[in-house]
Symmetry: C2
Subunit: 333 residues, 2 copies
DNA sequence: CTGAAAGCGCTAACAT
DNA sequence: ATGTTAGCGCTTTCAG
């Protein structure tokens, strides 16, 4: 392992000079700079980032903390974060909280102990509520996916209420009146989508039926069980909306289990576009979130904040897209 | 930020003693140990891992380097790695190489610079070939998904040849004779599956037709384009096998584009089970890889190697499962 | 059993 | 423009 001292000696300069050259600092004669770089190359020297971090208190690691690593939404976000981080010389640490605030806290603590440069976080409800008390969060932070009310952080998200309103209105526009909703529990995202759903019903003079609205853990199995209950009601819904792709899979399985046909017997729409939503026949009408852009934007905001911690906070709201397919009885492909 | 010195002072002992207590080292009087722990708790002290790393040259970070972060296979592996690592107090760094050996090398170098404890790697072809020359890999390493020939590393994988043989035989058993194959290029995995495919054909006295065998980048789009060519042949295949789920999506899209029905017009089977494979009608016959177990096993092997670098290398071959569904003309669900 | 002191590899004042 | 030096926070000899 060649160290900066080796380079300094081989180049006949001090370690300070080598350090300056490597950091592209001013006050180094071009010839010295060139010479040092040659030695660096020749010796194949690479600075020890751990030592750099300890001394200068800067790191090139950013963390992405998500509530479910297996949710396609976060997978795509994660790809974007990875791409954007890599471009700027950062590498990314990935942590999964399973929507468990204890695990989340332990994870954030670990990250702080590692002195990561910053974190992109999709926080649990509890963390949002006690945000300022979480000591581990005294580092640059960008919150994604969840609305960070009036917290003093950067935030990138979509307009959940409006998006749910749009897709619900689409269902209503196709004649569905008894629309069931299966929303993700535990996070504010699910309740905002619920909110938009209700607003759309009311705007179209449909009285929301409490028994048609369910919260479920955002996993396939819970989506399945919940939907089964919905479908076994004496007056079952004529359409179902779900708030993410994991729940969607469960709903589709339940619909099949009950031998119902989409959209003939029951219509279906969901949040999150996936390959599967396109592949199915009928293909599924969805709200597409700009997942890649969310990840990229969050990463860029984070790196800007790392570089300038005094910068004012931003809330970036990205536009979603209603993709109309055949699962709501529409002809258009 | 409270440091070890603060704890030492508050406890009236030396930093060495505090360090010993925290590391559970022997030669500390139980009463001192207890007292120190109380102060630690009271002051809410957490050791700085960067300093620990620099001083003792140990890290609690492991890295997962995959060729495609968006491939459901690696996503599931990544969840398993995350779970297993977390249980043992490690956190994981995630890097994506896009099957690009330059990016891979740069990534491995960064990880080495960060002094990570070890790496779980799905290497590019080039890295396997020049394995011993890659200086960044002088750390504990476990190779997954790709066969690491006779390299001196731990390796966890499945039997690709045998799995491809099994699923191909299944197709043949259902009367298909002109079977097209779309395999992932760039990696040894694709060619091993190709090999098993060929072996199955030969074992059943079917002469492999070179024009029916294609290599494609493992992405939906390439799967689509490649399949289109296959389907436009004068004597098109009566069945298609693909070697991963991304290609599978492309194939399915192409089949639909050509308005062919599965399994009536053409049968289909693939590697990798996904939610989508179950959801589609007909559901897709697949080789299911034990993805979660692969990730877990790799992590456990890695941590064992970190703890004992002299340990002998192991190659763990995990069993796959042929899941028979309706896409090959089979009745069974 | 415990403390003092020497670094891990680097950067950043402070000199010159 | 460059070198000297003092640490970053911790672990680990080495003494006692």
């Amino acid at each position: 392992m060649v160290k900066i001292k080796d380079v300094a000696e081989a180049a006949g300069v001090s370690t300070a000079t080598v350090s300056r050259v490597l950091a592209n600092k001013p006050h180094v004669r071009p010839e010295v700079q060139k010479h040092v770089m040659e030695i660096v190359k020749k010796l194949n020297y690479r600075p020890n980032r751990v030592a750099q971090n300890l001394r200068s208190n800067t790191s090139k690691i950013i963390a992405l903390v998500v509530s479910d690593i297996e949710n396609p939404f976060f997978q795509r976000v994660s790809r974007a974060v990875d791409d954007a981080a890599y471009e700027q010389g950062y590498i990314v640490m990935l942590c999964n909280t399973d929507e468990n605030s204890t695990k989340e806290e332990s994870c954030l603590n670990l990250l702080r102990d590692e002195n990561v440069a910053g974190v992109i976080l999709s926080p649990t409800q509890r963390t949002i509520e006690k945000f300022s008390e979480i000591s581990a969060l005294d580092m640059p932070t960008v919150i994604i996916d969840r609305h960070a009310k009036n917290l003093d952080v950067d935030n990138v998200l979509i307009d959940n209420v409006q998006s749910a309103y749009a897709i619900t209105s689409h269902l209503i526009g196709h004649g569905y009146q008894r629309i069931g909703g299966v929303f993700g529990g535990d996070s504010i995202t699910g309740s905002q989508r619920h909110e938009g759903f209700i607003q759309a019903l009311k705007a179209h003079n449909i009285k929301p039926a409490a028994e048609l609205i369910k919260y479920a853990n955002p996993r396939e199995e819970d989506g399945f069980n919940t939907t089964l209950k919905l479908l076994e009601m004496p007056d079952r819904p004529d359409a179902i909306l779900t708030s993410n792709s994991l729940l969607a899979a469960g709903v589709l399985l339940a619909i099949r289990e009950k031998k119902l046909k989409i959209p003939g017997d029951i219509a279906f729409a969901s949040f999150d576009d996936t390959t599967c939503a396109q592949l199915l026949e009928p293909a599924i009408t969805v709200i597409e979130q700009p997942t890649y852009e969310i990840g990229r934007t969050a990463t860029e905001l984070l790196i800007k904040r790392i570089q300038d911690p005094t910068r004012s906070n931003r809330e970036v709201v990205l536009k979603t897209k209603l993709i109309i397919r055949q699962s709501c009885g529409c002809q258009k492909s």
